[in-house]
């Protein structure tokens, strides 16, 4: 099986996600874009697994999904907390923690 197109799709999705993280200022969108990047990675993992007839890639993909779920939970929690404290929902404004 030729995996070239799978990888191309994966790369495209990853780049879209990357561009989103770099350009968007709404944390919600940034979170979504990170999800895109993670899933692009998953796609590549599964494509390789299929190509090599090896099940390890599937396992990794599942683990990545679990991690992604946790990350979204934490990220959304943070955003809700920010919203509750009436802080601006903007990653550029939220930079008090700089050194």
């Amino acid at each position: 099986m030729d995996i070239t197109w799978y990888l191309v799709v994966s790369a495209c999705v990853f780049s879209i996600g990357m561009a989103g993280v770099l350009t968007r200022r709404n944390p919600l969108t940034v979170l979504l874009c990170i999800e895109l990047m993670l899933n692009a990675g998953n796609l590549a993992l599964i494509a390789f697994a299929r190509a090599h007839g090896n099940q390890d890639g599937h396992v990794f993909a599942l683990i990545v999904m679990v991690v992604a779920a946790c990350e979204v939970a934490v990220g959304l929690g943070l955003i809700v907390a920010i919203y509750r404290r009436k802080l601006p929902i903007d990653v550029d404004e939220l930079r008090e923690l700089q050194g």
Partner: protein, 669 residues
């Protein structure tokens, strides 16, 4: 008992005493600390006697025993062991040190009775005895240096025992600095020896010295000169002597023990111990002999004019050690060590008697204010006279035999040694004069108010206490001398200690009566078996008796002169002062040694220090090192801080760049 065990016990008892008193002094009421300290040293003395008995049972040719406890440091080129050397020299030294120390501890029990720091005093004193015994028992150079530095530290602690007296702390620092100079000398000398012979163990070094070094090998001469620096600093010989008179700031028992009987004679012991080195480097030995001779003369002349009771005795100590140094540097080993022993007896006695006298004056030690104590203090007077006669060398007191043996043996070396002997005879005349000047002025003449009060059975008590040197007003709390004073006439322990020493100072000379007894010479023989001079250096009977006659005559003449000047007709003394005002001035300024050292060493160094502070410190240290380092760190942290912008997108971009860079790197590689 086992020889090695008893020798180790000699060391262990004083250490135990130090630790017990030092840690448990709170639980010791009254004079317990004093009795405990004395008991520790007495036990050490008993062990020393047992060691002597055990050593005498050994075979004549096997009386140099090294006892190793454990390896101290075993590393490249150095094989230092925790070892002690038990041989006739060290056994003689431990007997003298622990014996005299026991008596001085006994004396201090009462003498220091009124002092607030009573237990501290005995802890220090025990520590000193431990260090001194370690020094004389050490079986290798490493342990010797340890003991050497310990006695310096103990001396410092005891000189500045009254630590709130500014003069005392300053004297302590002075003594310590000069002693450290000596430590460095000894250390460098050891390095020379180690480099040449490849060992630090005494017996090994002495065996190898003849094959490792040729006669007057420059390396060995340099090493021996360095060892001499150590010996001279410790033994207060010219030009490193200025600390000893100042060290009289310590309590009188300390002067008796450390600065008369034991520590200051360590230099003599060191040279006698190192005799194989010095015989292989005669140049160094000759320099030592000449400087010893210079010291004995200079110190005797200063002793003639000083008016501080303790300092007179201090200068006489310097002078007598000059005799010993001259002796051991001229290969008259047994005579030097014999004089060391008799000197320990009569000089400790003199200091104890002086302590009693000073106590009767309530701390004043100025000879100008002390007079006429003969009737008030008969016991002290008697001890003073016995000590004075022994010091002046009047037959049959101990100093007579030991001093004249030195002079006879040095004269037997011939050549220029004769000059040394002539100078030494001149100094021995002066010794008699200054000793009896002290006695006649302090005990004869009109009774001073204090003496008159004491005659009526009342010990003088000062209303206000003053520093005898600077006249500053002092209180009597801790860190200053206590309010009470104790004199020998009223204290049993002081009487026992002084009486014992008086007997020893009288009969000590019987060990070595020329042509009759030579107990000490025979006893020391095994330690000097390989010496080139020990047996061959022997004056003829005629020479010996001529020497003895001259010595005795000079002593009597000296006492007579002192009597004429200070007891019979004091007007003549004033006349003398005027006629020799120039010389008197030089002598009372102690030959300007302090001023010379100040001008040659202290001032240039102080100037250099100021210069370094103003330029080097400011520009290089502060500017370059400190400023440079902080500048680099500040610039680095500013750069790192700049990166921390807080923009999430910026971080992501950096991450992306980094990961891309890594990926490219691995793809290319």
């Amino acid at each position: 008992m086992n020889l090695e065990l008893t020798a180790w016990l000699v060391l262990i008892f004083p250490l135990l005493g130090t630790v017990l008193i030092g840690l448990g002094w709170r639980a010791m009421p009254g004079r317990t600390a004093g009795y405990l300290g004395t008991a520790a040293i007495a036990a050490s003395f008993v062990s020393a006697v047992l060691t002597l008995l055990a050593l005498n049972r050994e075979d004549e040719h096997h009386r140099q025993i090294t006892s190793v406890a454990w390896d101290y440091a075993h590393t490249v080129g150095v094989d230092a062991q925790m070892s002690i050397l038990i041989d006739p020299i060290s056994v003689l030294m431990i007997l003298v040190v622990s014996g005299v120390s026991t008596l001085i501890h006994l004396y201090s029990i009462s003498y220091m009775g009124g002092d607030e720091g009573y237990a501290r005093f005995f802890a220090y004193l025990n520590f000193f005895v431990f260090s001194m015994l370690l020094l004389v028992l050490a079986g290798n150079f490493v342990l010797l240096i340890v003991g050497w530095a310990f006695v310096g530290a103990a001396s410092y602690l005891l000189i500045s025992y009254w630590y709130r007296r500014t003069t005392a702390t300053r004297a302590g620092i002075k003594a310590f600095v000069i002693n450290v100079l000596g430590d460095v000398g000894l250390y460098l000398g050891t390095l020379f020896v180690l480099q040449g012979t490849g060992s630090v163990d005494f017996l090994t070094v002495f065996e190898r010295v003849d094959e490792s070094f040729s006669v007057n090998d420059p390396n060995l001469v340099a090493g021996c000169l360095m060892i001499l620096v150590g010996a001279f600093a410790k033994s207060a010989q010219v030009p490193l002597h200025t600390w000893l008179p100042d060290a009289m700031e310590g309590p009188t028992p300390v002067s008796a023990l450390i600065h008369a009987a034991t520590m200051v004679t360590a230099g003599v012991y060191l040279i006698a111990r190192m005799h194989p080195l010095f015989e292989q480097a005669p140049i160094a030995a000759d320099i030592g002999a000449i400087l010893g001779c210079a010291t004995l003369f200079i110190a005797a002349t200063i002793g003639l004019v000083v008016t501080d009771i303790k300092r007179i005795i201090a200068y006489s100590t310097m002078s007598q050690i000059g005799y010993m140094i001259m002796a051991v540097c001229s290969a008259a080993y047994s005579a030097g060590l014999f004089h060391l022993m008799t000197h320990a007896f009569f000089k400790a006695l003199l200091f104890m008697a002086a302590g009693s006298l000073i106590a009767a004056m309530a701390g004043v030690q100025d000879l100008n204010r002390t007079s006429g104590f003969r009737k008030a203090m008969p016991f002290t007077f008697g001890c003073f006279v016995v000590g004075g006669l022994a010091l002046s060398g009047v037959p049959p007191f101990s100093g007579f035999f030991s001093k004249d043996e030195i002079l006879a043996l040095v004269a037997a070396r011939g050549d220029w040694h004769i000059i040394l002997v002539v100078v030494a005879y001149l100094a021995s005349l002066m010794t008699a004069i200054y000793t009896f000047r002290l006695i006649f002025r302090a005990f004869f003449g009109d009774a001073s108010p204090e003496a008159r009060e004491l005659e009526h059975g009342h010990l003088f008590h000062a209303e206000e206490h003053r520093n005898p040197l600077s006249g500053e007003l002092e209180d009597t709390e801790i860190g200053f001398p206590g309010p009470e004073h104790h004199i020998a006439e009223r204290e049993g322990t002081m009487k026992i200690a002084m009486g014992t020493l008086a007997v020893l100072a009288t009969i000590g000379g019987l060990l070595q009566i020329p042509t009759v007894t030579h107990i000490l010479h025979d006893f020391l023989h095994p330690a000097f078996e390989e010496s080139r001079f020990y047996d061959s250096l022997e004056p003829t009977t005629g020479e010996i008796f001529v020497g003895l006659a001259i010595g005795a005559a000079l002593a009597v003449i000296g006492i007579f002169i002192a009597y004429m000047l200070w007891a019979r007709d004091t007007g003549r003394k004033l006349d003398f002062h005027e006629r020799f005002a120039g010389i008197h001035n030089v002598l009372s300024h102690k030959w300007y040694f302090d001023e010379l050292i100040d001008a040659v060493i202290v001032r240039p160094f102080a100037w250099f220090g100021r210069f370094a502070r103003n330029t080097f410190e400011r520009l290089v240290i502060n500017g370059l090192f400190v400023g440079g380092t902080s500048g680099v760190i500040r610039a680095g942290s500013a750069a790192v801080r700049g990166v921390q912008s807080g923009y999430l997108r910026y971080y992501t971009g950096l991450l992306l760049l980094g990961v891309t860079g890594l990926v490219f790197y691995f793809l290319v590689a």
